[in-house]
Symmetry: C2
Subunit: 330 residues, 2 copies
Amino acid sequence: MADVAKLAGVSHQTVSRVLNGAPHVRPGTRDKVLAAIRELDYRPNSAARALVTRRSQTLGVVSFASTLYGPASMLDGIEQAARSAGYFVSVASLRSLDARSVQEAVDRLRDQGVEGVAVIAPQISAVGAVARLSSSVPVVAVGSGSRSRVPMVAVDNLTGATAATRHLLDLGHGTVHHVAGPAGWLETQDRLDGWRRTLEEAGAPVPQVYSGDWSARSGYEAGLRIAADPEVTAVFCANDHMALGLLRALHEAGRPVPGEISVIGFDDIPESAYFTPPLTTVRQDFGELGRRALELLVEEVAGVGHARSHVLVAPEMVLRRSTGPARGLA
Amino acid sequence: MADVAKLAGVSHQTVSRVLNGAPHVRPGTRDKVLAAIRELDYRPNSAARALVTRRSQTLGVVSFASTLYGPASMLDGIEQAARSAGYFVSVASLRSLDARSVQEAVDRLRDQGVEGVAVIAPQISAVGAVARLSSSVPVVAVGSGSRSRVPMVAVDNLTGATAATRHLLDLGHGTVHHVAGPAGWLETQDRLDGWRRTLEEAGAPVPQVYSGDWSARSGYEAGLRIAADPEVTAVFCANDHMALGLLRALHEAGRPVPGEISVIGFDDIPESAYFTPPLTTVRQDFGELGRRALELLVEEVAGVGHARSHVLVAPEMVLRRSTGPARGLA
DNA sequence: GCTTGCCATGTGAACGCAAACAATTACACT
DNA sequence: AGTGTAATTGTTTGCGTTCACATGGCAAGC
């Protein structure tokens, strides 16, 4: 910076002012400085700036299962929004979701000097852990269920699950079976609740719940059991990947979809439209979730009050061919 | 740090020595310092350290299409490896792949002070852009094709494509059609080359190439045209998502797979085993790719020579039910 | 007993920048 | 011309580390 100042014939402070867009710099002076900067290909040193301003311009993201479509999309949305807000993004991904790992990841990010952390870790224990240490750095949760003590942005899983269940009921199905996500996840819980409540309100029996781990494989395994149950005519899968596995199992068992069994998923991953048959599902816009979360985080970092700490984004049902009227009603 | 020094009754320099594991610190002294650190919950300031050491302990990742399974998995692998190597990871994702965007992303990272950059940007133009500016910071490319001028780690697309094509030929198919990825991608080119070369070596006719953009939708569109062509009995898709779309189109057109047409994909995403029918494909271990790339980058940063600058990871064929003998041979 | 040399620790700078404050200049208005 | 105010620029300080060097102590060797 001293070199730039010398070349431009001003003090380093004036260079600093130009760099930071401070007022009261004469245009001519600014131009000289700018020219010198270009001439020397000068780059401000972010470490020095961070040291004195105590602001790193960096936000942290704790992410889990980041190879899945949902988390990856949220991360992408976060990065986009962070960039427009002028922040860098540092990632720490989790291998497991216990409180210790989360603690560790957040510590790691904090040691790096991030000004805030977004957590894509939709497990109940994780959110608890995060809440406990959010004292030192602002934290927001992304895509988690509704019970978090920290500010968060999520899709309205309850409403989505209700819509899905309702849809199948309206099609004339006596009840709707459910393939849930793994225990401990906030999404799992909310979708389960929405499903159960809708059934109860409709006076429909609440059948036993099948449980998976979000993977197609687990959906397939649930599907094998479902296919063997002649009672089942409608299934709500807690995500599209499991629905894919379910579809596969049903196909192998010679149970036509939607002829004998209707299937609805959740997420609307880009592939869902090309399943066999194309999957009716509940769309959540993960990218949007990430963006909104980041906006919230930026507000927190800036010290704006937590006016709208809990943001719920409405999901949207996407009708395709995997759902149809109950048998005998066609 | 001064507080810690005072509490421990030593100088700040001794605290620094303890922190950095420097030799010549008496165990008793070390313990006192450690105790003081714990007592005060002291955290070293990374900005100050970066300022004086000129090392940020941060590596950058430029990523494109990071919501796709491949890039997301590579990012994940990179993050893992970076953590074990003691580095933080900062991400910059690209919206478009022109040289300007890449330039911008790398600049952004460099301004942040990263010590090296891994580029998940498998487009020819991107790699060119990166090569040009790799002077200031070490750069490695991940998952790109083989023609890059910067060090890189990739799956051996040529071999993979050859194996896929060979497999179908061996099954008795007269030739193999190809649904390629978008132009300009290194993977696209290498898989295309492998396919074409294998056909030529086998003396099989080289049919017209269908082109997609990696998405299931584009595979579906190619599939519509392929289904209408009675000549086609075997198709090699440049990735699994397009294969899914193709499968869908074939199914709709009443062309059984593998009865009438065999289909093979590339990638082996976790869902491929649950397609209808389960997809034969060529597996690439994206996570491993990311890890290897990061190791290479760390070596570069450390200044170790470029002995093994180009790492090719062998892909592995996964046989499932979407491929079978040619008609008349069953 | 007095050097020699290694250990253990302390002292003073410097890293590159922005904040606080000081100084100078320009301009309007009396 | 004289005063006041705002605009523009400069000077100094310190952010929290590590680095280079200085210092004191203690053991071994003569």
